[in-house]
Symmetry: C2
Subunit: 428 residues, 2 copies
């Protein structure tokens, strides 16, 4: 039986029936394979981890642990080993004195920034945020569930801002920040999670010129994928802190980055970068919480990554592992989903995700059918505040972890699950 | 001129004058040496760090990073690598499922516990602590400045509880917890900071049977020096969580520990241990802040330290480096200060400090004179809430960092500074 490949809304009743038979049979076959595949999170693969495992060996003797005159093994130096501050400054294009180097997770630095705003207030806060009557935070959608969860956990009302191919819809942002209860916005300026969009120069210009009603409005600038191209050469990005300084808005920005997807996801180093006034303020607060982060691991990373140029070379090796996976997913969608009119998606050139939109109302059911057949995808709805996608259409595909051959099976399941969900909806 | 060695309050006017001449001359001589010595913090010495630097080499290949089936390099496993949970459970005598393994600093875990109580509330909190009208916290004195600073930073009123040789004065504690605004207490149960006292069985019994008015009262049980003897064999301590469970108070305790003074102070691993109900509650909150701490470093520690028995053997090597330093300080005090009646102190057998009491009103001046002569001591008053020692008499001596020969000079300065301060007070 040859497969029918045309838009579902153009299928005749007989064709629908035939399609249903094909899809049901195939779905049962796939279920019978008892698969256990995971495309849920942006986890690097074992192959990538092995590739960077010389990181384990760059420090081996006591004298290796000296960062100039600083013995990284001992207590102290709250804001990080000087060479690690310099490395992140090189990566981000800012100044070393604007960098605070933390532990293994930028998520923790982001949480702690919001937490300190809540308990103590930020530099320009009239009072701690826990003393405000109402708190709101802007969430570009589709976006990153862990960002949204942080502000949800602190009781913020999460306000949806639509994403465009150039970044968040700045008309909507500029309108929203007129509300003094709106305290900030989550941003992933390069290879946004999940769409892989890069904020345009115009978007960034409008960000640094934003005039929010809240004097302590904070832009959470999560530069998670700043050197993470997999399908093109390195794309330069502007230093947000310099641009903000020119616009007189430098205290509004906290930039975050990490090596989680450069070296070891669970054992990398992270940083935030901010104005020197913010830095002085934050160091006073963080000095109560910490004596320093793990400076030995910071130095290990400096010795391994060396500088931005060398890091970009390493990212090309990651790209060589990542690209075939993304190609496989995109080719499969192109071949199996496109002709049937069952969704649309962007072609990312970097980052870790593909943002896929089903026809309205099919995402949850597709996710369920995948799960039933042993394929775990990111929860449908996860890319929206409160996990609620109003159109029930967005699914984040994370192809990085499984080997290509597993990914192939997972995508087979995904496509059949989506076709089955669509047929169910059509009442076929 | 032979030195006069008798109590200052028994000196004749002529003897006072002679003593003053000796002390002034000596102090000027010492100042002229332009010393730069640091006895301010409980930092391990370079010799200790070098001794444990094979820690850098225990993981070198990708397969070394497997903790059973868990690849420690990747994301995940919020509460820590299973083998690291087991190691801390072994050290503390609790169950692995009661252990949450964190990053390089137990201070951060302590801060975060108080912070989460403040922003979200603890398991038994009627509401987040930021919604309470008044917050108080009990601070045994002399105690640890960083503990006090955490609760001060969150706006608690710090309530002083006197220390006894058996631990905090439990009559005072039992009285204080009748106030529902009193939300917790800071404890260092073994080798208390700075006195080096070990809480007695009776004190611990009264702790687990405490009936505070606040339903969410928390005992911050900082077991920082649980295996840190330097002048005697390992002293066993009871598992506070089991004892609390017997008394039905297990949700009242958060125990903390770390390897900061076992391996690298800045690059060790830390944990908290608590009831399973607390653990389930805290994991939900921490899951928003973190995906996991650095599990590679956790595994590195497991491979290096192996188990409690092996760790205690290692601590004997630390003791061999520490003991001569403490002996030197104690001998000097015995020889120079005791006969002159210028203070009293305890003889600790473990921990990192000597708690020294000058006659009333001399601590700040002694500290200043030390500083002027190039010797940095812990701030006088630091061992009290708000840095205010009501009798201005306690000074924490931290002999661990400098080599013995430097320590000898620092103690020479300290003794002369104290004698000078005493003479000034006597109007000599």
């Amino acid at each position: 039986m040859s497969e029918i490949k045309k838009p579902y809304d153009q299928l005749s009743p007989a064709e629908l029936k035939a399609e249903k038979e094909v899809v049901e049979k195939k779905y049962q076959e796939l279920k019978a394979r008892n698969l256990k595949l995971d495309m849920s999170r942006g986890k690097p693969s074992k192959q990538q981890l092995d590739m960077v495992s010389d990181l384990l060996n760059v420090l081996s003797k006591p004298e290796d642990c000296m960062d100039g005159k600083l013995d990284t093994r001992n207590y102290g130096t709250l804001d990080g080993a000087p060479s690690a501050k310099a490395l992140f400054a090189d990566l981000l294009g800012c100044k070393p004195e604007e960098v605070f180097v933390g532990g293994n997770a930028s998520l923790t630095l982001m949480y702690d920034t919001i937490s300190k705003a809540y308990t103590h207030g930020l530099l320009r806060s009239p009072k701690p945020w826990c003393r405000e009557d109402k708190l709101k935070f802007l969430c570009p959608v589709p976006g990153y569930d862990r960002h949204f969860a942080v502000t949800q956990s602190f009781g913020f009302e999460l306000v949806t801002i639509p994403m465009t191919p150039e970044g968040p819809d700045m008309n909507a942002v500029e309108e929203a920040v007129k509300d003094p209860a709106v305290k900030g916005i989550w941003c992933v300026p390069k290879y946004s999670n999940p769409e892989g969009s890069i904020y345009s120069a115009e978007t960034i210009k409008r960000f640094v010129n934003l005039k929010p009603a809240a004097p302590d409005f904070v832009v959470m600038w999560d530069n998670a994928y700043c050197v993470h191209e997999f399908a093109q050469d390195y794309v330069p990005f502007p230093d947000i802190l310099s641009l903000a300084k020119e616009a007189g808005s430098e205290d509004m920005f906290f930039e975050f980055a990490s090596t989680s997807k450069i070296t070891f996801p669970g054992a990398g180093i992270s940083c935030f970068a901010c104005s020197e006034a913010n830095m002085a303020y934050m160091k006073k607060l963080i000095g109560i919480q910490s004596i320093s982060s793990d400076k030995v691991n910071q130095l290990r990373h400096v010795r391994f990554l060396k500088d931005k140029a060398h890091t970009i070379e390493l990212m090309k090796k990651h790209a060589a592992i990542m690209k075939p996976k993304f190609d496989m997913v995109l080719d499969t969608l192109e071949r199996e989903i496109g002709p049937r009119g069952l969704g649309n998606w962007l072609n990312p050139k970097g980052g870790y995700f593909i943002s896929f939109n089903t026809p309205d109302g099919l995402a949850k059911r597709t996710w369920e059918l995948c799960k039933e057949a042993g394929v775990v995808m990111t929860n449908a709805g996860a890319t929206f505040p409160y996990g609620k996608d109003p159109k029930d259409c967005n699914i984040r595909i994370a192809p990085s972890l499984p080997p290509v051959e597993e990914l192939e099976q997972a995508m087979e399941v995904f496509c059949i699950a989506l076709r089955k969900a669509a047929l169910e909806k059509l009442g076929a």
